[in-house]
Each structure stands twice: as C-alpha cells, then as structure tokens.
Symmetry: C2
Subunit: 138 residues, 2 copies
DNA sequence: CTTCCTGCAAAGAGTTTGCATCAAA
DNA sequence: TTTGATGCAAACTCTTTGCAGGAAG
C-alpha cells in the first residue's frame, strides 16, 4: 500500500536516521518527537532529542513525513503521510486513522471553486469513540 | 450566517474580552495571539499578552473559538468556528477560507465505518494559489 | 580524508502561572 | 463589597542552534 520510505541519496544513512524511520513506520498514529526518543532509549539506543528534531525537520522538508498538531496539544506530532487523517475521541483521546480518505471528490470541487492547485491536505475529526459512548460518565 | 458570539454569563464582560472577540469577529482568517495583541496595541489599547492567552483558552474551552496550527508554523492560530477550514498556498502563504464545507457526506460515512459520534472537524488543504501558479519562479 | 551528522548544553520562542492590584457585578 | 480578571514578570515546555568531536562515504 504505502511505498517504502527512502532517505534521499543526498543525505547520509546513519543509524539514528534509520532508527527514527523505523519508529515512524511502526507507529500506527502520529507521535511526538519525545515518543521516538523514549522508544529508542528503551531499546537501549543512545540518541539525543536534537538529533530527532533535526531529522524530523529534514523528513518533513522532503515530504516524507507529515507534521501536525492536535487540538489542545501544544507539541507537534509526526507520522508517515498515510496516517495524516485521523479521528480523535474527545473523551479518552484515542486516535483512529482514517484510511481510504474520500476526500478526492471534495478536492475537485475545491479546485474549481478556488482555483488552487491542490497539493495536500490534513483532516482532523473530533468525536466520541464507541467505548466512551457506552460509559456515560463525564 | 454565523450567530453572534456571546460570552457565557458565568464570565465577566470586561473590555479586554470584548476587544478580543471583536478582533476575532473581524479577522477573516485564523490569527495568532500576538496578532490580536498588536492590533489592540495599535488601536491604543493597553492589554497584556497573558490576558489574551487566558481569554483565548477560555473561549476554546467553551467551544466559541477554534485553535489550530498550520503546517510548518509553531504558533497557534485562533478563529471563530466558521473559519476552521482553509486552503493555504504553499508558496506565498495566502490563506483562503473554505465555506460551505462539503464535509457532511464524508462525516456520515466516517460515522458508519468507525462508529464515532462525530462532534467536529478541521480541514487544512495545501496547494498553489492562482497568483503563484502564474509566477513560475520557485 | 572530507564532509556531514551527532550529542551536549545553552539559547529561543511561544505559552502559562503566581501574585498583587483592579474593576465588574 | 466581593470575587473574578488583569498586568507584570518569572517560570515552563517544546524546539532550535552553536560547536567540538565522531562516523559515513
């Protein structure tokens, strides 16, 4: 489905970069820079947060990674492009990825109305997840 | 179209709050806290940034204002709910509000697939605006 | 070898908080 | 009056940057 992530040849293939990419590939929701840091620390890797930020910046610049912020959170989340559309439960914070995003029709309409040449999008939807609908305690 | 903004009665109606709301009502795109600060300063009002942040927090908590972050920007933007869906030009940064968001059909589909009770959404679309399409200099 | 990358520590930027004062109600 | 709201300055958190040492090619 999603093509394998490749670091452009103009960058060196260091073990830190490799590790960061692996974490992103295994994550199934957008995660924080610090999550990556902690996961790698836990695996016994000695990496610094600034290395993670520097590499995430590079990946975002290259279009390989999507950076986003969730409502009422003030730290960035990072994910591979196929995880950029998500549902968030307002009660428990659970995140569910929306795949097969039916956004393309919408995109056509937008293109005509605003004459923008559309290059990308990011959709964030809020709601109450099935579990939280059951437990009706605020 | 959009209903008049009302501060819930449990809060006092101070001149600072009134001023902040006015700025948000007059803004036609999501703006930064500092934009509000500068606009009010310019009008001769003596207000502090922390008051602005405190009031924006309150407004967001009350659901009267939407907080969002734009890609490659690390400061929050605030807007009335009718301006939460927008197009951003990747070249010049121009922001165009999407109104009559054709998102409702999509919403139904999401509801069925994920069984979330949808309460809100925020769409960010990237592209190249008509002006930047003409001037083909990177 | 050369150049890019990393880790560390310090700096920056945006946002939040404590506290005394002020002003709605 | 009473109590919530403000302004100021200091504190915080996330992110970025400078620099010297390290590793990829």
């Amino acid at each position: 489905m999603s093509k394998k992530l490749e670091i452009p040849k103009k960058y060196r293939f260091t073990k830190q970069r490799k590790a960061i990419l692996e974490v992103l590939e295994n994550a199934n929701i957008p995660i924080h820079a610090e999550d990556i840091y902690l996961m790698l620390k836990e695996k016994g890797m000695d990496i610094s947060l600034s290395t993670i930020y520097r590499n995430l910046d590079m990946l975002v610049k290259e279009g390989l990674v999507i950076k986003s912020y969730m409502m009422n959170e003030d730290k960035a989340r990072f994910a591979l492009p196929d995880k950029k559309n998500y549902l968030v439960c307002e009660k428990c914070g659970k995140i569910v990825i929306i795949d097969n995003c039916p956004f393309d029709k919408f995109k056509e309409e937008l293109k005509e109305v605003h004459q923008f040449e559309i290059t990308g999008h990011c959709i964030e939807v809020y709601g109450i997840c099935p579990d939280c609908q059951k437990t009706n305690e605020s």
